[in-house]
Point group: C2
C-alpha cells in the first residue's frame, strides 16, 4: 500500500500555488497517495488546473479535506494553534493522529507546526524533546545535523537523544549500518568545550550509538561523521548561514559572469557541469527536515519552498514512514534509558573510565 501523506496546502511563502503544484507532481510520479488540507474552494481549482482538468485530477491519488483557517508564516505559534483549530495544520495533523494518513508535510510556520505536532501527535515514548534534523550534502554523501531549531536550550540527555534519533534516521533512510555520531564542539579534543559539552561527551561514549568523538564546524561538510549533534540555536545558525553563503556566492558568480563576455562564453561550455553542482547544493532536492521524536512522521519544508521542494518533501516523508524510522527511534531510546539506569540515577555525572566500553555498539 502506498504511504498516505497529508500535505498542508496553505504552508509556505508561495502557498497555496506551489504547494498544490508540487503535490500534483508527486501524485503523478506515483507511489504515494495524498490528502490536501486547506480551504477546499481555493485549493481544488488549483489542483484541477495543475492536473490539466477535472478528469485527470480524478485519476490522481489526491483527496481534499477542507480546513477553512490558515496560520500565517509570522503568527505567534502557540496563540495561533490555540485560536485556529480548523487551520490546515491542525486539521492535517489530526488526520495523521487518527490514522487516516501516515505522515504530515508542511512548509508553513515552523514554530506552529512543531508546537501543534507535539500537542496533537504526542512524543514517542521516552523522547523528551523533539528535534529538527537537516540533511546536509558532504563530499561523498550526506551528514545529518540535529537539532537545527527546535530547542534553544538543551540538557545533556536531550543531546544524547538527538544522537540516537539522528542515527536511526541515517540507518533507516540512508542505509548506513552503523552511523558515525559526533558531538559539535570547538575543537576535537575530548577536554574541549564547556561543562555541558564535556558531560555529553562522556555520556555519548556509553550511549548505544557509534560515537566517534568531538568535531568542530569545519567537519560539518567534510563527511567525517554521519550524524552531528548540537543545540538548536547553533544548528539553526549553521544551517541558515550556510544557505545564505551559497545563495550569495551564486549571486556573486552570476554578477561577475554577466560583466564579462568571455566568462559568459565559458559558462555556456560549462553548462551541464554547473547544473550538476547546482543540483547538489539545492535544498529543494532534500525538500524538508523531519521533526524527530514526535509519534508520527512530520516533515517541515523551507518557507520559500518551490513546487520541486514540496514534491521532494512528500517523497522524503513517504520513505520515512515506510522505513519505520519512528519504531527504530522508540526502540533505541528504550535502550538508552536502560544504559542510563545501569549507570546510576539520572543527573549524576558518569565516570568514563570505570564504566568501560562494554555497552557500546561500536563495530
Amino acid at each position: 500500500v502506498a504511504p498516505r501523506i497529508v500535505v498542508d496546502a496553505m504552508g509556505g511563502d508561495h502557498a497555496p500555488e506551489v504547494v498544490v503544484e508540487g503535490a500534483v507532481h508527486a501524485a503523478r510520479a506515483g507511489g504515494v497517495s495524498l490528502v490536501l488540507t486547506g480551504p477546499e474552494a481555493r485549493i481544488r481549482p488549483l489542483a484541477t488546473r495543475f492536473a490539466g482538468g477535472e478528469a485527470p485530477l480524478q485519476s490522481l491519488p489526491i483527496r481534499f479535506v477542507d480546513a477553512p483557517e490558515v496560520i500565517g508564516m509570522e503568527e505567534q505559534p502557540v496563540a495561533a494553534i490555540r485560536r485556529k483549530k480548523q487551520s490546515s495544520i491542525l486539521v492535517g495533523l489530526r488526520l495523521v493522529r487518527d490514522n487516516e494518513a501516515d505522515a504530515f508535510v508542511s512548509a508553513g510556520n515552523t514554530g506552529a507546526i512543531m508546537a501543534a505536532a507535539t500537542l496533537v501527535l504526542g512524543r514517542l515514548p521516552g523522547v523528551e524533546r523533539p528535534a529538527l534534523a537537516a540533511l546536509l550534502p558532504t563530499k561523498d554523501g550526506t551528514t545529518v545535523l540535529v537539532d537545527v531549531g527546535a530547542n534553544l536550550d538543551v540538557k545533556p540527555q536531550h543531546l544524547e537523544q538527538f544522537a540516537i534519533m539522528g542515527a536511526c534516521l541515517m540507518r533507516a533512510v540512508r542505509g548506513i549500518e552503523n552511523p558515525r555520531v559526533a558531538l559539535l564542539s570547538i575543537g576535537e579534543e575530548e577536554g574541549k568545550g564547556n561543562e555541558l559539552l564535556r558531560r555529553v561527551h562522556q555520556d555519548l561514549k556509553r550511549a548505544p550509538v557509534n560515537f566517534v568523538g568531538n568535531v568542530d564546524g569545519k567537519d560539518v561538510f567534510s563527511g567525517h561523521a554521519d550524524v552531528i549533534v548540537t543545540d538548536g540555536f547553533t544548528g539553526n545558525a549553521i544551517l541558515k548561514s550556510c544557505e545564505s553563503l551559497v545563495k550569495e556566492l551564486f549571486a556573486l558568480v552570476r554578477r561577475e559572469i554577466d560583466g564579462s563576455l568571455m566568462a559568459r562564453a565559458g559558462v555556456l561550455l560549462m553548462g551541464p557541469t554547473l547544473r550538476r553542482i547546482g543540483r547538489r547544493m539545492d535544498h529543494s532536492e532534500h525538500g524538508g527536515v523531519p521533526l524527530l521524536g514526535v509519534a508520527r512522521p512530520v516533515f517541515i519544508g523551507h518557507g520559500s519552498s518551490s513546487a520541486k521542494s514540496i514534491r521532494s518533501a512528500i517523497f522524503a516523508a513517504a520513505t520515512f514512514a515506510e522505513r519505520r524510522v519512528n519504531e527504530a527511534i522508540e526502540e533505541q531510546v528504550r535502550q538508552l534509558a536502560l544504559v542510563a539506569q545501569e549507570d546510576g540515577p539520572a543527573g549524576e555525572p558518569h565516570d568514563a573510565v570505570a564504566s568501560g566500553d562494554a555497552r557500546k555498539v561500536r563495530p
Copy 2:
C-alpha cells in the same frame, strides 16, 4: 612612524617557513617595522633566504628577538603558557606590553594566544571578556561576527560589550560612521529566542550603539548588519562550517570540471572572473581575527595560514594600531557603563519603553 609589529615566527601549521616568508613580504611592501620572535638560529637563516641574502635582509625593517621555546598547536593552552615562559608567544607579547612594539600577530595555538594575551597585556578598562572578531565578506562589503571562539558561555553584559567592540572596529577600520549592530537569534522578531536573547535585545536597545534588532543565520552574509553579535560557540561553528562549505564547494567544482573537456575549456575562458571570485572568498585576504578587548592589539591568524595570510594579518594589525581602535573601545565601554548605571543596578531587567531612545546614537 611605521607601526611596530611583533610576529610570532613559530605560530601556525606551516611555521616557521611561511610565517617568515610572509613577514619578509610585508617588510618589503613597507609601512611597518617587524620584530620576529622564535629560535633565532632557526628563523634568521629563513629570513635571509626569503630576503635574497644577508645584505637585502639588513635593508629590511626586520629585527629578531630570540625565543627558544615553542608552544605546539595542540598543547593545552594554560599549561603551555605556564611552562614555556620563553616561548615565541610570551616573548612577543612582553615586547608589546613593554611598549617595544605596537601589536602582536600569531597564527599559533589560539587558546594559548588568548590566555597569554589576557595574562600579559591585561584587558582594556571595563572590558569583562575579550572576544574574537571575524570579518566576513558580504554582497557589498564586510560584516564582523563577534565572538567566534573566545567565550563559550556568555552573559548579557558580555554580548553588549561584544556589540560595542565590534562597532568600534568597523568604525575605525572600515570607516563606517554608525555601524548597524544586530543580535543573532533564531528569527527576526523581538520576542524570539530564549530568555538570554530577549534580555540582551532589550539591553542593546539602550546601549550606545546603532542596534537594528535581531537577525538570523541567513543574514550573516546578506550585509543587513555591519556587526553581528553572538556567543563564541555559535560564532565559531558558523565561521568554521562556512569555511568548510566553501572549501568543499570549490573541491566539488574542481572535480566536476576535471571530468569534462568542455567544462575545462569553459574555465579557461572564465579565468579572470573565477580568480576575482576566489579572491573574495579567500580568508588569506583577511589574514587574521583581532582579539578585541585586550589592552594592546593582538591578531590571531588561521592555523593553516599561508605567507599571504601572514602578510595580510601584519597589515591588518598595523591598521588596527594606527586607527586607535582600542582607545575607541575604552571610551565606548565607559559610556556603556554610564548608561547601565543610570538604568539602575546591573542585573536588573530594564524596561525598554520607559527608558526611551534618548541615549541612543542612532542617526
